[in-house]
C-alpha cells in the first residue's frame, strides 16, 4: 500500500466511530463579528500602523504626487510595473538588491490590526521586490481600508501570492524585547491617500 493510501485508511479507521457532522461546515458557530463598526477607518488604521513603529502620512489624494516626491527624497526606489501614473517620484531603480527602497500600491488594508496586504498585482511588485530593499513605501487609498480581518479575507483572491505586512520586520527572540528590522525592510512608510 502506498503511504497515501495507508494514511487515508488510518484516518478512516480512526474517525469511524465519531459522530458525523455532515459534509458542509454548516454546524460551525460563527457568532463573531463579520464586520467591524469603525467610525473613522483612516484614523484607526493610521493609529494601529503607528503602533508598530512604522511611519504614517495622511495626505489628500490631490497632493499624493507631491507627498510621494517628499517621501522619496532622492532615494533610488524600485518602481514596480503598473504603478499608477503620477506616483513615480523619479526614474525607477530596477535592481532591488542595490535599491534604497521600493514604492508600491496595495490590495487591501485592515484598520483594526494596522495591516496592509499585497497581492503582487499591478503596482505591487514581485515578492522579492518588496522584500529585499531596506525601505518600503506603500500607498493605501482610503477606500482600500476595511475594518477587520474577516472583511479583508473576503476581498482577497487566494489564487494570488499574498503578503500581509503589519509594521516593519521585527524580532522578539532576545528576552522578548521587540527589535525592529531583521531581514525584511527595516523601515515601513505608509502613505494614506484620502
Amino acid at each position: 500500500m502506498s503511504a497515501r493510501e495507508e494514511i487515508l485508511a488510518r484516518i478512516r479507521t480512526a474517525v469511524a466511530g465519531a459522530r458525523d457532522d455532515g459534509p458542509a461546515d454548516a454546524g460551525i458557530p460563527r457568532g463573531y463579528r463579520a464586520v467591524r463598526q469603525v467610525d473613522d477607518l483612516v484614523e484607526l488604521f493610521a493609529e494601529r500602523v503607528r503602533d508598530y513603529r512604522a511611519i504614517v502620512h495622511v495626505v489628500p489624494e490631490d497632493d499624493l504626487t507631491a507627498a510621494l516626491a517628499r517621501v522619496a527624497g532622492g532615494r533610488r526606489l524600485v518602481l514596480p510595473e503598473g504603478l499608477p501614473g503620477g506616483w513615480a517620484p523619479g526614474p525607477g531603480h530596477a535592481d532591488p538588491y542595490t535599491a534604497d527602497g521600493v514604492l508600491t500600491a496595495c490590495a487591501v488594508a485592515v484598520a483594526e490590526t494596522g495591516t496592509i496586504v499585497l497581492d503582487h498585482g499591478p503596482g505591487q511588485g514581485t515578492r522579492a521586490e518588496t522584500l529585499v530593499p531596506d525601505h518600503h513605501v506603500c500607498v493605501v487609498r482610503a477606500a482600500q481600508i476595511v475594518g477587520g480581518v474577516p472583511e479583508a479575507v473576503a476581498r482577497l483572491d487566494p489564487s494570488r501570492p499574498l503578503t500581509w505586512i503589519s509594521g516593519p520586520s521585527a524580532t522578539s527572540d532576545i528576552e522578548l524585547n521587540r527589535v525592529e528590522g531583521v531581514h525584511g525592510p527595516r523601515t515601513l512608510e505608509v502613505v494614506i491617500a484620502t
Binding site: A14, G31, Y97, E112, R127, A128, S169, I174
Partner: protein, 464 residues
Amino acid sequence: MSATFLGMPGNFPKNAAEAVQNSQLRFNLRKATHTIRDKRAAVVGELPDWQELRAAGKAIKDHTLRHLDRYLLQLEEAVTRAGGTVHWARDAAEANRIVADLVKATGETEVVKVKSMATQEIGLNEALAKEGVTAYETDLAELIVQLGDDFPSHILVPAIHRNRSEIREIFLREMPDAPAGLSDDPAALAEAARLHLRERFLRSKVAISGANFMIAETGTLVVLESEGNGRMCLTLPRTLISVVGIEKLLPTWRDLEVFLQLLPRSSTGERMNPYTSMWTGSVEGQDFHLVLLDNGRTGVLADEVGRQALRCIRCSACLNVCPVYERAGGHAYGSVYPGPIGAILTPQLRGMSSDLDASLPFASSLCGACYDVCPVAIDIPEVLVDLRAKAPHGAAERAGMKAAGWVLNSERRLGAAQRLASRMRRFVPKRRLPGPLAAWTDTRDVPDIPEESFRDWWERNERA
C-alpha cells in the same frame, strides 16, 4: 514520532528537579513568560468576540479532523492543479527520505530553513546532515539554538532560556563574521544575525519550511512570522519544500478569518504578526513540493479523548501561563513540544514506553490555566487525567488502588475500615509515613483521622 530529541533522558520529575536549581534559567523564564502573557491578555481583551472566535476555531478544527481524509484529498488536488507536487509520509524516516531525495535532485548541498516544529519533530536537520546536506536555520532564536549546539525550549521562542549576554557569547564564538566589538544590546545582536544570514539568503537555491495552515478548498499554504526570514526563504530560492502535519488543514479560505485573529494574539501577543505569506502551488516560477506528514497523528486521531490535541495551532500560550513550565523550563519535557501541550502531545505521538514519556502526563498541577488561554479550547487537564490512567503504574500502586477500590465499593467494608482506622489513629504518624508511603508525605501532612467517622456519628444520632 522518532526519538531524535536528545534534550534530556531520565524523567520529568528528575529533569525538573535539576532545572529548578538553575536560578539564571528560572529568572530568564519568569521574565519572558510574564512579559508575553501580559501582552497576550491585553490584545485578547481588545476583542469583544474572543470567545465566539475561540468557539469557531474549535468547531472548525473538529469538523476538519472528522473529515480529514476528504479534505486532504481536496488539498492534494488543489495544490497539484496549481503546479505543486504533493508527497505523503507515514513517519519521520519516510519524510526525511523524501526531503533528502528532493534536495539531492537539485544538486545542492545547502538549504535554508524557516522555523518549523514539524521538521524538528522528525529530526530533519540531522537526517540531511547524514546525506551530506547542511541545513541552516534562519529564525533568530533557532539560529541561537543551532549555533549554541543546544535544544529548543519553547515553541515560539526556542531560545527563551538564553539571556542577552549568553547569546552574545554564542555569536562571538560561533559566527565568524560577528563584529569584534559586539555588544549585548538586542538590536546589535539582531543586526549581527541579519548580516550573517543576508548573503546566505541570496545564495541559497533550496528552502525548507513548515506551514501554520493549509486550505483544502484552494490549496493555499500560510506561514506567519516576524523577522522576514520566512519571506526570504519562501520567495528567493528556486525550490521550496514544505513539510506539514496533516492536522494543519482548514477546509475553506474563509476559515482564515478566524485563525488570523486567534493565532497572532495568542502567540506573540500582537494584533497581527509583522509578516504573513500565503501561496498556492508554484508561484513566480518556483518549484514547490508539499510533504504531508502523519508520524503518529492518525494514532492520536483514534483516541476519543486525546484527539482534541490535534486542534493545536502551536501558539504556545499554554506554555506562557503554566506554573510548571515557568519553573522547570522546556528542556525538562525532553521533546520539541514542551509545556502543557507537550505533556499531552508527546506521550500520544511517541507512546509511553519510555520513562520520560510516561512521566509527562504527571508534569502538571491540573490548575487549568492552559485550558483558559487555549485559542482552540483544548481541555488539556482532561487529556492529562485520561493519559494518567493509561500510563504504566507500578505493582505496589496497582495493588494499593485495587485494595482501595475493593473497600470503597462496599458501604459495609468502608464502615469497617473507618472504624479500624479510628482505633489505630494513635499509631499513625503525623508527619512522615513509613516505607514507600513516605513519598506522599514529602510534600503533605497526614490528614487527621477522626475519633469517629461521620457515618457512625450520623447513625448514632439518628437512632437517638
